[in-house]
């Protein structure tokens, strides 16, 4: 499997090439090159996954070179079903989005640079998912953060874009703070950061307390990267980036890294039930919370951003409930339909000359048929309408959660409520965008996007439609449980949650479909009218502002932090610390000035000095030597 390195090397090479020669290669060469490299990586990954698909493969560690010998970190890759699945998603969806971007970024002055960053991101993400140790995972973890920063603030002339990029990186760093400490604890306990060693020895060396500590710290990291409460605030702002970026990084791949990490470290979470429960709870609460905010958004991308946060909450709920397969399943389907939604939204924005406010759209369905059609698939998929992909994956998470009983039943209720809200806000989005009368600004002439953009839409539409059959919960023989079997080797060491009995499953599915239908129905009723509801004031304003959490953070953390920093810099440091230093200097000078009058110019007083010294010396010597 040595050729696995190629999967990372190809996009990395693309990034380096484009960094150096991007401008010379120009448009569309840069995009084509980048896309084909990612596509090639996908093909290689596909070849590598073949054995897993047939069920005959087994996990393999592809060793590289010792990176930080003292910490035992080797740059090694782990090729197992979990990483291969992630690789396929990243390269597959990534390639489609690359292709889309060829059209979307048309005419941008930094066209080549954009694909540099995109390729860099793909490479980073692959390092993240393919790494065989926490160390390598962390490299990828930080590098995707970097790519995300670069891409969010790609249009850095816009101060809001620059600020958003910085915010994303900093908030992620806060999560990384937890992650980093987790790594310290793991290393202190086990003496290695390699997955194999850690998972093997964790059960022996870690007490439940330590395991809980480690996993909670990991959760902090995951919550940062996957935009969960309370660290989600960067993701809505990240929509400042170009839309392909939102689709690739902030919907399909990077933000799911947290989910991936929890799944990957299942062996640790298994030792710490409390942490697992916390993960699920955080996920459920985030899911509901973000869904409510999504309802109030006017910016099409911000709806999708909050939707992403909400959907990631589902995934957390799943992996927290030890339903790793279900969590990963939702990750895959979500990658399909959310990427599709973003790309569709991008297509709309492209068509609307950059307009993102849904209140200024409307009636686009005839003008943009392809976009519209694919968006409908995604809409229904995310709402959980069978047999589209979202239904199966979401339903599996909910069913497994329900089956765990106890507290998890409460989470299930939250999940159902979220499902209803999801259906509602997606319906709102669709109706505001595609139905009704045009509310366009003047001079806007919507048109369908070029082929290079619609082709990925179609591909993703197909995936979103049928993706659910990767793993139907109803276990229709071997075919239906494909993903579960595929992933089985990756999770055989950990105890997984079970699906409830078939009867219960049907019942639960019915409830969730009912919730979805209810949401769609209410949304349809509300927005299909010519006269749109006002949606202003009171609750709506609060929702639009995301419960003003940004303000709150600003007032509670950023502002005091700045005040503290200013106090430290301009009072503590300049006045106190440096003041003390200069004070010593001033003291010496003062002493000197104070001593100067002794030298008064009077010879007689100098004589007094001599005589006094003489008397003192005589007395001293008499006292010490004259006695005996």
């Amino acid at each position: 499997m040595g050729y696995l390195w190629l999967v990372i090397a190809l996009p990395l090479a693309g990034a380096v090439t484009l960094l150096l020669f991007g401008k010379r290669i120009g448009e569309p060469g840069a995009g084509t090159l980048a896309s084909s490299l990612v596509g090639a990586a996908f093909l290689i990954a596909l070849v590598g996954s073949y054995d897993f698909i047939t069920g005959s493969g087994h996990a393999e560690v592809v060793s590289g070179f010792a990176w930080i010998p003292g910490l035992g970190i080797e740059l090694a890759l782990l090729w197992d079903p979990l990483s291969s699945m992630m690789t396929l998603v990243v390269t597959g969806v990534g390639a489609l989005i690359h292709v889309y971007a060829i059209g979307y970024m048309h005419g941008d002055p930094r066209y080549g640079r954009f694909f540099t960053y995109l390729n860099l991101f793909i490479a980073s993400m692959l390092i993240l998912v393919l790494g065989e140790s926490f160390g390598v995972l962390f490299i990828g973890w930080e590098l995707v953060g970097l790519s995300s920063y670069l891409l969010i603030s790609f249009w850095f002339e816009k101060p809001s874009a620059a600020a958003a990029g910085k915010k994303a990186f900093v908030v992620n760093r806060i999560g990384d703070f937890g992650f980093l400490i987790a790594l310290m604890v793991i290393f202190a306990e086990v003496g290695s950061l390699s997955y194999g060693t850690v998972f093997e020895e964790a059960a022996e060396v870690m007490t439940t307390g330590t395991a809980t500590l480690v996993t909670l710290l990991l959760l902090v990291g995951a919550a940062g990267k996957s935009a969960q409460l309370p660290l989600y605030v960067w993701l809505p702002d990240a929509m400042e980036g170009p839309t392909p970026v939102s689709a690739l990084i902030h919907a399909a791949t990077m933000v799911t890294a947290g989910v991936y990490m929890v799944a990957r470290t299942g062996a640790l979470f298994e030792l710490a039930p409390f942490s697992a429960g916390t993960v699920a709870t955080v996920g459920a609460v985030t899911a509901l919370y973000a869904a409510t905010i999504a309802i109030g958004q006017r910016d099409i991308k911000r709806v999708l951003a909050y939707s992403t946060i909400s959907q990631l909450g589902y995934m957390f709920m799943g992996v927290g409930a030890a339903a790793y397969v279900a969590g990963m399943f939702h990750l895959v389907t979500h990658a399909f339909f959310k990427a599709l939604l973003f790309l569709g939204a991008g297509s709309v924005i492209h068509a609307m000359s950059g307009e993102q406010d849904m209140w200024k759209m409307g009636g686009l369905r005839r003008l943009m048929p392809t976009t519209f059609a694919t968006m409908v698939i995604a809409w229904l998929a995310i709402s959980g309408i069978p047999p589209l992909s979202g239904f199966f994956s979401k339903d599996e998470i909910l069913a497994v959660t329900f089956d765990k009983g106890g507290w998890f039943v409460v989470l299930w209720v939250v999940g159902i409520a979220t499902a209803a809200l999801t259906a509602f806000y997606m319906t709102r989005l669709m109706l505001l965008t595609f139905w009704g009368e045009p509310r366009w600004d003047e001079g806007v002439a919507p048109h369908e996007s070029p082929r290079v953009m619609t082709a990925p839409l179609i591909a993703l539409g197909a995936l979103a439609a049928v993706g659910g059959f990767l793993n139907t919960p109803f276990r229709l023989g071997r075919l239906g449980a494909g993903l579960e079997h595929f992933l089985e080797p990756a999770f055989e060491a950990v105890e997984q949650a079970h699906l409830p009995a078939a009867g219960t499953q049907w019942l639960l599915a019915l409830v969730s479909v009912a919730a979805a239908v209810a949401g769609i129905w209410y949304g349809w009723r509300r927005y299909v009218e010519r006269e749109l509801p006002a949606e202003e004031g009171g609750v709506w304003d609060s929702l639009l502002a995301g419960y003003r959490v940004d303000d709150l953070y600003g007032r509670a953390l950023v502002l005091p932090g700045k005040k503290l920093s200013e106090a430290a810099a301009f009072t503590a440091d300049m006045k106190v610390v440096d003041g003390a230093v200069n004070g010593v200097g001033a003291l010496v000078t003062r002493l000197a000035a104070w001593l100067r009058p002794i030298q008064n110019g009077l010879a007689r007083s100098y004589g007094v000095g001599i005589l006094a010294g003489a008397v003192a010396l005589v007395v001293w010597l008499l006292a010490s030597g004259g006695g005996s």
Partner: protein
């Protein structure tokens, strides 16, 4: 009561102290200089007394040297005092405070 060498030395010490006091208390350079001469002579007394008591010649010999040196000092000292007096029309040392600080 016999007058031992110790008495002479005590007297010499007193004279030395008086000389030192004179130097420190008087302002006139000439008087101060005379005080120094007093101090030197008190030392001579000490030499003589100690030399006689200890029965060695060094005491008396030293006095001769000291007297010569004192004489040399006088010549130079008076010259300097005269020079100052010429420049400033005063022999008060307390008025020589141009250099200080």
């Amino acid at each position: 009561m016999t007058v031992t060498a110790g008495w002479y030395m005590a007297l010499a010490a007193s004279l030395f102290t008086i000389g030192a006091a004179g130097l420190l208390l008087r302002r006139n350079a000439l008087v101060m200089f005379m005080s120094i001469e007093l101090m030197l002579n008190s030392v001579n007394l000490t030499f003589v007394a100690a030399g006689r008591e200890l029965g060695v010649l060094e005491g008396q010999l030293s006095v001769l040297f000291v007297m010569v040196v004192a004489a040399a000092e006088v010549t130079v000292g008076l010259a300097i005092i005269v020079a100052v007096f010429r420049n400033r029309a005063t022999a008060s040392v307390d008025e020589l405070t141009g250099l200080r600080g």
